[in-house]
């Protein structure tokens, strides 16, 4: 973004024009005791050459993911992004516009968002989807906010222990205050404990949030979990990886009320943690409590089809404190990436990607479990593209050794929760070749 500061001359002219003696006078309504008397203590300005050298030296402390083989998962995955995605989103009409929601000038973008929404409803099996949210974590928090708005009077949010722990933190933060309580449903066996869920359900519970495949990669029995939640009068929200929907039962098929998740797997780079893309879909009956932006199709006064933002009275800029959520924006560019990706691959393509992930993950899991001292944490649980293994030695040391060999081995779960000491989360996408996986196994065997 360009920054053109005022010159002293320009400042003087402006002050004269408005009849004010100094810039300080404009701030005189601010109490003296909170005004900063001195100048900010900034270091000496750098030259362009020095500034670039500083930025580059900082960047060099990161590993370049393109030169590493990644088995990292836990919410962001190294999937292949077709060249067409970048080529199309780089068009300046898409790339440079900011919050392009005006019907008068943004028909192309609005149509793209409408297509995105339509594709997400197909993928998740739900009736309606919004224009996207920030990321998987914030849309999961929005699901809880929406459930509490729909189920007025209910204030408990049940979250599976197998939901991404970062998502749980965001759910807690966004739902703190207002008398709401977030409780955890245990998942000691790698999957959400249905008996424990049954015990926690009562007339105070507004929603149950589960993830499928869950944080540990395990495929959950979402139909059963949704049924239990709804029998108790709560809403069922299923959070999940969209590529998995090529194979696992969709939230709609499972009977969920809300489907949310991280759209990064759909043509968005891992980018050291973001920007990402949250998808949010739900049953039609909740359309007035759906958070975020919504694009609709309509006719203008000459009968021509056109796209507009719709049901805006849901949103905070109109409904203010009574709105379900404070989100009145979307991740337009990344939603476009996801739309291009989904269009290119289609139903068959996504299913194919999912099958490759499943097969490769199971191949690698089998080979690692075959190494002395290694085993799967929950060998009886069905998994999709991620799995948890228990290591013979400290996980962090193993990860460090493999870093030297150019392999990002996995996530040390012990760093997230003490209970998972000695466990590593390994993800395998369609990009991983047999040679890469075999090299990974050899490296582990050689430790």
């Amino acid at each position: 973004m360009r920054y053109t500061p005022h010159t002293e001359e320009e400042i003087q002219r402006m002050l004269e024009e408005i009849g004010v003696g100094s810039v300080d006078e404009l701030f005189r309504s601010i109490p003296k005791q909170v005004q900063q008397a001195s100048q900010l203590e900034l270091p000496h300005p750098l030259s362009e050459m020095e500034a670039i050298e500083l930025a580059e030296s900082l960047a060099r402390s990161n590993y370049d993911p393109d030169s590493m083989v990644s088995f990292l998962g836990g919410g962001a995955y190294d999937h292949y992004i077709p060249a067409a995605v970048d080529h199309l989103i780089s068009r300046s009409e898409f790339y440079t516009c900011y919050t392009p929601y005006q019907a008068e000038v943004s028909q192309g973008t609005l149509q793209a968002i409408y297509e995105y929404q339509s594709l997400i409803t197909r993928l998740t099996g739900m009736d309606i989807a919004n224009a996207s949210g920030y990321d998987g974590a914030s849309v999961t928090a929005d699901a809880a906010l929406m459930a509490c708005a729909v189920k007025r009077g209910r204030s408990v949010i049940l979250v599976s222990e197998a939901l991404n722990p970062a998502y749980r933190k965001v759910v807690e933060t966004c739902n703190s205050g207002g008398g709401k309580e977030v409780k955890t449903v245990p998942a000691g066996s790698g999957a959400t404990d249905t008996a424990a869920l049954g015990k926690l359900l009562d007339e105070k519970v507004a929603c149950v949030i589960v993830q499928n495949p869950n944080f540990f990669g395990v495929v959950e029995n979402t139909a059963e979990l949704c049924r239990l939640a709804q029998e108790a009068g709560a809403l069922a929200a299923v959070s999940g990886d969209p590529v998995a929907l090529g194979l696992v039962i969709s939230p709609g098929e499972a009977g969920a009320d809300i489907a949310v998740g991280e759209g990064q797997s759909l043509g968005v780079p891992t980018s050291y943690g973001g920007p990402y893309l949250g998808y949010f879909a739900c049953r039609g009956e909740y359309k007035r409590q759906l958070p975020g932006r919504l694009v609709g199709v309509t006719e203008d006064n000459q009968g021509r089809e056109g796209y507009v933002l719709t049901l805006q009275t849901r949103e905070q800029h109109i409904r203010r404190e009574k709105a379900t959520s404070n989100i009145c924006t979307n991740q337009s560019l990344l939603a476009l990436s996801a739309t291009i990706y989904m269009s290119l691959l289609g139903k068959e393509g996504i299913r194919h990607v999912a099958e490759l992930c499943l097969q490769k993950a199971h191949y690698l899991a089998g080979r690692i479990a075959g190494l002395a001292g290694w085993k799967l944490a929950w060998p009886d649980q069905p998994f999709f593209k991620e799995f948890v293994v228990e290591s013979p030695g400290p996980v962090s040391e193993i990860i460090d050794s493999l870093l030297d060999k150019g392999i990002l081995a996995g996530i040390d779960l012990g760093k997230i929760e003490k209970r998972h000491q000695g466990r590593m989360l390994v993800a395998v996408t369609e990009r991983r070749t047999r040679q890469q996986m075999d090299r990974f196994v050899e490296a582990l065997a050689g430790l």
């Binding site: 007035r288 805006q312 009275t313 109109i318 409904r319 009574k322």
Partner: protein, 124 residues
């Protein structure tokens, strides 16, 4: 601007018509004309309690959402189901088919309600 006699009015532009122990509530002709096309009305359920001067629901026009304030205290015994599919009744017939809730009231704060003449004075 229609302001029927025999109805009472609130400063928030609701009207109330009392017949025996039942009171019918809606919004005035002035209110609907200020709002513009009504697209959605959010009403309470039968059995819900309403309190004088407290919000009992919301009304949505294309670019705005307003609260609906109850003129009196009591229990909701009937809700206008027609508004779900035809919210425009509030615009076309605000004192008739556009009624919103019927309340079995326990308290009417007379001193806060305006007569037709007082309401006409207020909006002019």
């Amino acid at each position: 601007m229609e302001i029927p006699k025999g109805f009472r009015y609130t400063k928030e532009h609701e009207w109330v018509l009392v017949e025996d122990d039942l009171a019918t509530v809606g919004i005035t002709d002035y209110a609907q004309s200020e709002l513009g096309d009504v697209v959605f009305v959010e009403l309470p359920e039968i059995g819900d309690e309403v309190e004088a001067a407290e919000s009992f629901g919301t009304i949505e026009a294309v670019k705005t959402v307003s609260e609906l304030f109850s003129p009196l205290t009591g229990t909701v015994v009937e809700v206008n189901e027609l508004l779900a599919d035809s919210p425009d009744l509030v615009n076309t017939d605000p004192y008739g088919k556009g009624w919103m809730i019927k309340v079995k009231y326990t308290e009417i704060p007379e001193e806060d309600l305006l007569s037709a003449a007082e309401y006409r004075e207020m909006i002019s």
